[in-house]
């Protein structure tokens, strides 16, 4: 039995095809978000990679910010539920999931059986989100995906405010103008994100093990900074970016 999960985020689309809710047949990540060709592309790529037709997929479930905007599916569920289910599939020991998405940050609490017990989400503010990192990368003229490696060369951490993305952007420009090293500035940006995210996680409570999901989890600098703020190891699965799509595919299997 084949199911597909399509996670239509604000900055990227991820799709996954599962066989019998256990085996990953195909995965696709397209760095284009809702309102673009991204969802259709991620959808088609996963089908091509699995070598199956749409008609062979028994159920397709959407999730993510753009889950209401794609009509070739059988249903939708929230990204909160899907990330919880997806991370439990990837890392069953996890009880606290931190999902840093393009414009949302979520802290989820799971039961021992993987059920979503509680969650907290950020307000309408880009500080502490993937968008924050994207804006800062743009100001520094580096690629967002290169920020993690860049921060590894830091010798000190430059203090950057996390109150507001626009204020922080001005601070980064000011620091660049003062000749601060990019590596040190990047480390400061990661610390800024981590502090903002940690304050949200503390609201929901921290229960071991803790995992980071979403595309930002691929940034090693953010993972290190978050572990330091939470004073706890933060697990990252290689498929962390796919967690929402995996959760959607698992829910699709459950609904059959």
């Amino acid at each position: 039995m084949l199911t597909m999960g399509l996670d239509i985020g604000s900055t990227a689309c991820k799709s996954i095809i599962l066989r019998d809710g256990e085996q990953i047949l195909a995965r696709s990540v397209v760095p284009l978000g809702t309102g673009t060709v991204g969802p259709r592309k991620a959808f088609g790529e996963a089908l091509d990679l699995a070598g199956v037709a749409r008609s062979e997929i028994d159920r397709i479930l959407l999730t993510g910010y753009g889950r209401f905007s794609f009509d070739d599916a059988d249903g939708q569920m929230s990204e909160v539920s899907c990330h919880a289910r997806g991370i439990y599939f990837l890392l069953p020991s996890v009880r606290t999931v931190v999902d840093i998405g393009g414009q949302d940050v979520k802290a989820l609490r799971l039961s021992e059986k993987g059920a979503l017990e509680n969650f907290v989400m950020n307000d309408k503010c880009a500080a502490g989100t993937g968008r924050f990192l994207g804006v800062m990368a743009g100001v520094m003229n580096v690629k967002t995906e290169d920020l993690g490696a860049l921060s590894e060369g830091a010798t000190e951490e430059v203090s950057i405010s996390n109150t507001c993305t626009v204020f922080a952007e001005s601070e980064v420009i000011s620091r660049l103008s003062a000749g601060v090293r990019l590596a040190d500035l990047t480390a400061g940006i990661h610390a800024s994100v981590a502090k903002r995210v940690a304050s949200l996680v503390f609201r929901g409570g921290v229960v071991r093990d803790v995992a980071l999901s979403g595309g930002v989890a691929l940034n090693r600098g953010v993972v290190r900074a978050l572990a330091r703020e939470l004073k706890i190891d933060v697990l990252v699965h290689p498929d962390c970016q796919m967690a929402g799509a995996i959760g959607a595919a698992l829910f699709a299997r459950q609904q059959l």
């Binding site: 539920s81 509680n118 969650f119 609201r203």
Partner: protein, 384 residues
């Protein structure tokens, strides 16, 4: 109004019209020669205006992106205050004889200065509720504040407010509060009819209608509800707390996800009606101005009224248990520090009681509710 609507639905539709068109109501009152007094939220002693023969109207702003108000109110302040000032400065509130404004939080202090500077055509009647509510001198202080309010109303509105008239107005307001409590109770038996938005309409319309008229309509609605068989709600139920649960689109998201509202602690809704104006014990306490002032000291579980022991969290969990609610939705007004301070205690109390606590960001100046939709849907999906 749609044709052939049953009596209950017709009455609910009419209150929905009132709640959605306060400006239209203001124009009607002015055309009828009434003197209208604006009442800023909350705990404004409307009874004084009512006793003077005036028509009090609640001022709760609206969905607008302020521009003029930015001259006096920073962006990082409560959107109700900002939109009220915007409406004052742009002429939307023209026709009001004056505006009563309580200094219940720091934003109000700046707001009063902004109003005086930016809305010169509508005189301001400011007053202060004492936050130290256990000080023996506090009731006398508030009574004196209300005397000043009465004198200013008489001056600006060219009327007289007698003790006898105030006594009658107090009875009208107490009867109205009782009617609102009856409605809240009856609504819970008919959650198929009283959707979150309709419940909100019934409460919000009270802000723009004379209380005796509104109470009569609400009691008629309660009678019609009680004629119908009780409805068993199969979806989730929640308690709302906060300043407001607006915009209405947010309430519609609750309904779309099968969530009913079984109680509220919203400043715009039930919080105003749960504390009667006391009768008073001694002859002095039975004087109407004293009675009016003493209501403030009986109020419990409000972020704007200081309490030595925070009672709000427990009050909400008790309300949830009584009404069978699955969770508490904190409608957190953006940049409202007094509400922000209460949130961790509410969340902790909810967790202790085994209830989920959902926090929604409230901001009148935005129409996007994507994040709230995700939070509400996730709440419904919990346990799947």
């Amino acid at each position: 109004m749609p044709d052939a609507m049953p009596e209950l639905e017709e009455m609910l539709f009419e209150l929905g019209e009132v709640a959605s068109h306060p400006r239209r109501m203001l124009r009607q009152y002015l055309a009828a020669g009434k003197k209208v007094v604006g009442c800023m939220p909350v705990y404004t002693p409307e009874e004084l205006a009512h006793a003077g023969g005036m028509t009090p109207m609640g001022l709760w702003g609206g969905q607008v992106t302020p521009s003029l108000a930015g001259k006096y109110n920073p962006v990082f302040t409560c959107s109700i205050m900002r939109s009220c000032l915007e409406y004052g400065m742009s002429g939307v509130y023209d026709g009001l004889g004056c505006v009563m404004m309580p200094m219940l939080c720091d934003t109000f202090r700046g707001m009063s200065a902004g109003w005086r500077a930016g809305v010169k055509a509508i005189p301001l009647v400011p007053f202060i509720h004492p936050q130290n509510r256990t000080d023996p001198g506090a009731p006398a202080f508030l009574t004196e504040e209300y005397r000043v309010v009465r004198a200013l109303l008489e001056k600006h509105m060219h009327c007289e407010i007698t003790d006898e008239a105030l006594e009658k107005s107090i009875e009208v307001y107490n009867a109205h509060s009782a009617a609102m409590r009856s409605f809240a109770s009856a609504a819970n038996e008919h959650l198929d009819v009283i959707t979150p938005a309709i419940r909100h309409h019934v409460f919000k319309s009270a802000l723009f209608m004379p209380k005796e008229e509104h109470a009569a309509r609400v009691l008629a609605i309660v009678r019609e509800l009680r004629k119908r068989p009780t409805h068993v709600w199969k979806g989730k139920k929640v308690i709302l707390t906060g300043i407001t649960a607006e915009p209405e689109a947010l309430l519609n998201v609750l309904a779309e996800n099968g969530v009913a509202v079984t109680g509220d602690d919203l400043a715009q809704e039930s919080r105003q009606y749960r504390t009667p104006i006391p009768e008073g014990g001694s002859p002095m306490e039975r004087l109407p101005m004293e009675r009016l002032a003493r209501q403030w000291f009986d109020r419990r579980g409000c972020s704007m009224a200081h309490e030595t022991r925070a009672a709000r969290g427990r009050m909400l969990t008790d309300m949830a248990k009584e009404t069978g609610a699955d969770g508490i939705v904190v409608c957190l007004m953006r940049f409202c520090d007094v509400e922000e301070y209460d949130y961790p205690m509410i969340a902790a109390e909810a967790e202790k009681a085994g209830l989920h606590c959902l926090c929604l960001d409230i901001d009148q100046s935005t129409r996007d509710n994507g994040q709230s939709r995700t939070k509400i849907q996730s709440f419904v999906e919990m346990g799947m």
